[in-house]
Point group: C2
Chain length 348, copies 2
């Protein structure tokens, strides 16, 4: 059969819909809730809790209208974005819905634990027309066993429910600093490669049934020697370009499934560079959020001005990403889908 | 909200995927099982039961490969066609799966009763990536109450399960002759308009939760005065062009939901004419099967010859249908979706 046994028909069709005609992922995210509230609060000098749902909906609609047709998939949240943007989401492209509550529960040791949006099961998402579930979890190999198990159990249960529902699971693993690194950005940069690689390795275990890993870039370009002339540079180098390439290669080795790069809120120039590194090492594209649209909040609630910003700045940013994505590896060509010496996927 | 309350998000996204960018249905069918077996049996002088599944699969693959990318939706069967054609079905277009067993159970009075493919529930179809369930039932207003209720119960139960699963229900209602009409083709032609209109009226009842009606043409062009010069004419006219137009207008009035025209195995010239009449009266396009591909069986199992036939004859036939479909009504503009004086659908 031309599609691999390890992939159900439902997952196969939905993964194809989430990727472009070359099986590359060019996905955009507007599922932010907490961070979007904080952007508004910063701008208006108010508390995040005072931001009205209508403000979130307006940003989500303006961004979705502008960029959804350019992306192979759009990630939005099931609470505000999806119901408010139904008419703006091309049915031929993929829709991803976030499966976690915004934010995390912090422990007294600074560890992070995710919570599920319990009322949004994978089965419900499929019924309501989604093409993937994006689950964000936190990872640190030195976290307590209780915290690690908490995150792992969430992934395993969602993975099983997604498998049953025919819904691809896109797992976003966010690492974070613990201990002395918490207040030392340069030290965090140095530790980043190992953290991200450990995250990829941990959740590539088949028992989690992850279809695509959404990973941080395994280095911080702000601290790379050859980038110290860039506007985003921090003035201190902790590694060089060759080390970054090596980290990306190790990450690709560690990822047992197709993987994409996330933007972590960095600026566009920096993100485009990380995307080139990642795709060069075997990534299958990107899932990018704030780097494309974050300044749109400055123009709210003037919808004309917001729309103009997306036309003049947001869309050209997406164009840059699409250009840098031509070197991404087709997800169907990931080693996970290569049979012994034979192509599992028919490409007609 | 820009999508109507009567339509769940899942049904909305899937209906959009089943239709083209103008919300018109240009759907092709290769879900035949019994009739395809009979074509092979006729050609080879064997019994339909002797036709091998591999013969069915080959035809389904060749036809799907050629025409699926041209159609807004492709109807195939879940037993042979869907698993065999997974890699040939564009994920951006719709896939419809048939929900009934091939054929029907005939009663001693010549009445027809459908049977469901029990193992293919709407929930399973959604899981496995389908965008609609096509259910074929039989209708004659003079059938016994038991037969009528049998068909109605099937539709109501599938309608409810589709609603729960977020899966559009495309209901194909096929009428048939009873009593003296059984052996009199001209009499059947005369009775056709009322039969098809009654079928549309009956199954437009909201309790069936049908999303799109797949209907026979409500007249037989072979018996229309103005078509007696056509190759397909029967040499006897039972009505004229104006009566056909009137029947189509009455059918549109009777259909409480968007409707498309089926091809009943007529030839391409005749089907294109019926499509023009139907679209002129308010149909939202077609769901056409054998008229496009039936002769391909003559070339089996020579796959090169079959493919050549589809390239040289099959595809140009689809082009003709697409041309005749530019006058179809957008399904989103059907009266069922028009609010009091206001457009329910946002078209951006």
């Amino acid at each position: 059969m031309p599609i691999p046994d390890s992939l159900t028909p439902g997952k196969y069709r939905r993964l194809k819909r989430l990727s472009d005609s070359n099986d590359r992922f060019s996905m955009l995210a507007i599922d932010q809730r907490g961070s979007l509230r904080r952007m508004f609060a910063r701008k208006d000098g108010t508390d995040p809790s005072e931001v009205a749902p209508e403000q979130l909906r307006q940003v989500k609609r303006v961004v979705t209208r502008a960029v959804a047709p350019m992306a192979s998939g759009l990630l939005t949240d099931p609470l505000y974005g999806y119901p408010a943007s139904m008419d703006l989401l091309p049915a031929s492209n993929g829709v991803l819905l976030s499966g976690e509550e915004t934010g995390y529960v912090g422990t007294s040791e600074g560890e992070r634990r995710s919570r599920l949006l319990e009322e949004w099961s994978p089965a419900r998402m499929v019924r309501e027309g989604a093409d993937a579930l994006k689950l964000l979890i936190y990872h640190h190999p030195d976290a307590s066993e209780e915290t690690c198990r908490h995150e792992q159990n969430i992934v395993a249960s969602v993975g099983e429910a997604c498998e049953e529902a025919g819904l691809p699971l896109i797992l976003e693993v966010v690492t974070y600093p613990l201990g002395e690194a918490a207040d030392d950005a340069a030290l965090q940069a140095r530790k980043k490669p190992d953290l991200v690689i450990d995250a990829a390795e941990t959740f590539s275990d088949p028992r989690y049934q992850v279809d695509v890993l959404k990973l941080e870039f395994p280095a911080n370009l702000k601290y790379v020697e050859e980038y110290q002339d860039a506007a985003f540079a921090k003035g201190t180098a902790v590694y060089d370009r060759a080390a970054v390439e090596q980290a990306c290669a190790r990450l690709d080795q560690a990822a047992g499934v197709p993987w994409v790069i996330l933007s972590s809120g960095v600026g566009m120039d920096e993100f485009v560079e990380t995307l080139k590194f990642a795709n060069g090492a075997g990534a299958s594209g990107f899932l990018c959020g704030r780097a494309v649209w974050k300044d749109v909040v400055d123009y709210a609630p003037d919808e004309d001005a917001m729309t103009r910003f997306m036309e003049e700045v947001g869309k050209p940013r997406v164009e840059r990403l699409l250009e840098a994505n031509t070197t991404a590896r087709a997800w169907t060509e990931h080693p996970a889908y290569q049979d012994v010496g034979e192509r599992v996927f028919a490409r007609e």
